[in-house]
């Protein structure tokens, strides 16, 4: 859950571009559709957005249009959902998106200091991407790991019980490709 969406560089893309999903992506989305009753395929939308984001790193308008086509719904139905749920990146992001929880229980054990440290270390503000495209820093509202705070999420991984030293090591591991 995050809303800081300022970016230093905006890649150009054509909203009228047509994106073709791979067969395996289409199959994965259709598998989700099958879980719901006939005619209720719209229920697969949020998961389809997650699948697309896992593939492309973010969800562009052409990607949303493609999802609409697969689910046989209007593109606006995809846009209104993608813009409501804060996990979906509507702009390009770095290879690794670090989402640091900033809510009360994390703050009590040092998340403010952790966020400041990452900003200084990567030389970016919250919502920005490093110039080499490696990291985007975001803040998140309660990630549900309060007893293991402070923590950050990167894709599906939770990194918990963080300290300044641990987060330094973590960033190096991501940079060196030791963690995917």
């Amino acid at each position: 859950m995050h809303n800081d969406m300022s970016h230093s560089s905006q890649p150009v893309f054509d909203p009228n571009e047509v994106v073709n999903f791979s067969d395996s992506m289409i199959k994965e989305i259709n598998e989700v559709v099958k879980k719901f009753p006939e005619g209720k395929q719209k229920s697969a939308l949020i998961r389809a957005l997650h699948i697309a984001q896992a593939e492309y790193g973010w969800v562009s308008v052409p990607v949303m249009n493609k999802i609409a086509e697969i689910l046989a719904i209007q593109p606006i139905e995809v846009y209104e959902v993608a813009t409501f749920y804060t996990m979906f990146h509507l702009q390009p992001v770095g290879k690794h998106v670090l989402e640091v929880c900033r809510t009360g229980p994390c703050m009590l054990v040092g998340s403010d200091q952790l966020i400041e440290h990452i900003k200084n270390k990567l030389n970016i503000n919250v919502g920005e991407t490093t110039s080499d495209g490696m990291f985007t820093l975001k803040t998140a509202e309660c990630l549900g790991g309060c007893g293991y705070a402070p923590l950050l999420q990167c894709r599906n991984k939770f990194h918990e019980h963080l300290s300044i030293e641990k987060v330094d090591a973590l960033i190096e591991q991501y940079r060196n490709g030791e963690i995917q």
Binding site: M1, H2, K40, M107, L108, G144, G147
Partner: protein
């Protein structure tokens, strides 16, 4: 008090996340007993007798909720599990699903059978995608053993179980917002009535229950509702998962018998082992960020000087004047170095961020509260800001479709009520407030 564990009894058994070990520990035997020897109504009856109250936060009796479910002929009905655990301070459902996923799956099958649902859903917050993978694996195992699918264990009962993710929105923990989200829409809460029990998922009768509530159905049916009701005190029956966090020596998820004293929970060797780093307790939010904060002298004792207990009633003793709520069991502890103004601002920022924007009093009011609290915290406050906060509070409270507005307003009101001196100090001594913390407040002398 000896600690009895009903949900987490086998949580430390190696491999318990897999179906073979789970079955070895007695897993799915309760399902077999129910399918072979009980009618759906008999299962509902046991849940009613147990006194189980919704473990998501509201504490509404689960059996009663089930009995409201409309059963029109020829219309499907649905059970939806609310695994959108998002209330700051709460991380118990995640723990349960991650460690012992089959308990939730078994609870879902039992509960679906009781309600006559043939398709059920677990809606899990999108951030928990790795937990979704654990659940899908458990569900696949249950299908392969014949606990899900057609004609379960030869009973003639059919059930499909689907787990589906959200996309990062606190509001989807509200049951009608959750249903909207499950239908693939924005998470805007619905106007009630009609309640989900009459018109829920896709307009069909639906029950929405928290993860822990559904998991508790397993020991309730196994041991009988009366045995469950014998645990606890009064209308606080059974066990409860408490997720403890903040400045504690040993934060984590604990299963407690309702009725444990707050003193023992915070300081006892079996539980949190006191405040971290030998500091003093300053305050506690005992039931998730939405419930009123208690100053240190009201945490372990009520205003009347009685021991405060971990029950729905005792934590609420004193109402909004001197009590709080058990809520979701998100137990947040603040040590003497914490700033109440900063924390209140932090939570206000959370609610402003998470308001769905549908109702103006909440959309605008949460934003105003965040701004006013931010300026007090950052040394720009005025004395009239405290009254302004109270005024905004009153304009949100009760004027919104869903309880998020109240959840945002009440913690601010409680913080000002108990810690007014600290707010005023921030306003009167802004420079000093930027360099040190206010410390503990004194217990008022009662004549």
């Amino acid at each position: 008090m000896k600690n009895r564990r009903l949900l987490l009894e086998h949580v430390d058994v190696p491999g318990i996340e897999g179906i073979d070990v789970y079955v070895k520990q007695g897993g799915y035997a309760t399902l077999e007993k129910a399918l072979k020897n009980m009618s759906p109504d008999e299962v509902v009856e046991e849940v009613k007798k147990s006194g189980l109250r919704g473990r998501g936060g509201a504490g509404f009796p689960t059996g009663m909720k089930w009995s409201f479910l409309a059963k029109p002929e020829g219309v499907p009905r649905y059970l939806v599990c609310n695994a959108d655990e998002s209330e700051p301070g709460t991380f118990k459902d995640r723990y349960l699903m991650e460690k012992i996923p089959h308990l939730l799956v078994e609870g879902m099958i039992l509960s679906s059978f009781a309600l006559g649902a043939n398709q059920s859903f677990i809606y899990i917050r999108g951030e928990f995608m790795y937990v979704l993978n654990i659940l899908e694996k458990a569900i696949a195992e249950a299908y392969s053993k014949g606990y899900l699918g057609k004609n379960i264990m030869g009973s003639g009962y059919d059930l499909d179980l689907v787990v589906t993710p959200g996309g990062g929105a606190y509001i989807c923990g509200e049951e009608t917002a959750l249903l909207e989200s499950l239908e693939g829409k924005r998470g805007n809460p619905r106007i009630k009535p009609p309640f989900p029990a009459v018109k829920g998922l896709w307009g069909c009768p639906t029950v929405v229950n928290n993860v822990e509530s559904i998991a508790a159905v397993v020991p309730i049916v196994r041991d009988g509702g009366d045995a469950y009701a014998a645990i606890g005190i009064g209308k606080s029956t059974g066990t409860k998962l408490i997720s403890a966090c903040g400045n504690l020596a040993r934060p984590g998820v604990y299963e407690i018998e309702l009725g444990l004293s707050v003193e023992e929970f915070i300081y006892g060797d079996d539980y949190c082992r006191g405040i971290a780093n030998g500091k003093a307790l300053k305050a506690c939010v005992p039931g998730g960020s939405s419930v009123p904060i208690l100053p240190h002298f009201l945490v372990t004792k009520t205003a009347a000087g009685e021991d405060r207990l971990m029950t729905y009633e005792s934590l609420a003793d004193g109402g909004f004047a001197s009590g709080s709520m058990l809520g979701s069991g998100g137990f947040i502890v603040f040590d003497e170095d914490q700033c109440i103004v900063r924390n209140t601002w932090n939570f206000a920022r959370f609610y402003a961020h998470e308001s769905c924007g549908q109702c103006s009093p909440c959309r605008e009011g949460t934003g105003w509260m965040e701004k006013v609290l931010s300026r007090i915290e950052h040394g720009q406050g005025h004395m009239h800001d405290i009254d302004l906060l109270a005024d905004i509070n009153k304009k949100i409270e009760g004027n919104t479709i869903c309880p998020l507005g109240d959840a945002a307003a009440w913690p601010v009101a409680a913080a000002i009520h108990h810690f007014r001196d600290e707010f005023e100090w921030h306003i009167k001594q802004p420079a000093e407030a930027q360099t040190r913390n206010y410390g503990l407040i004194q217990q008022p002398v009662v004549a």
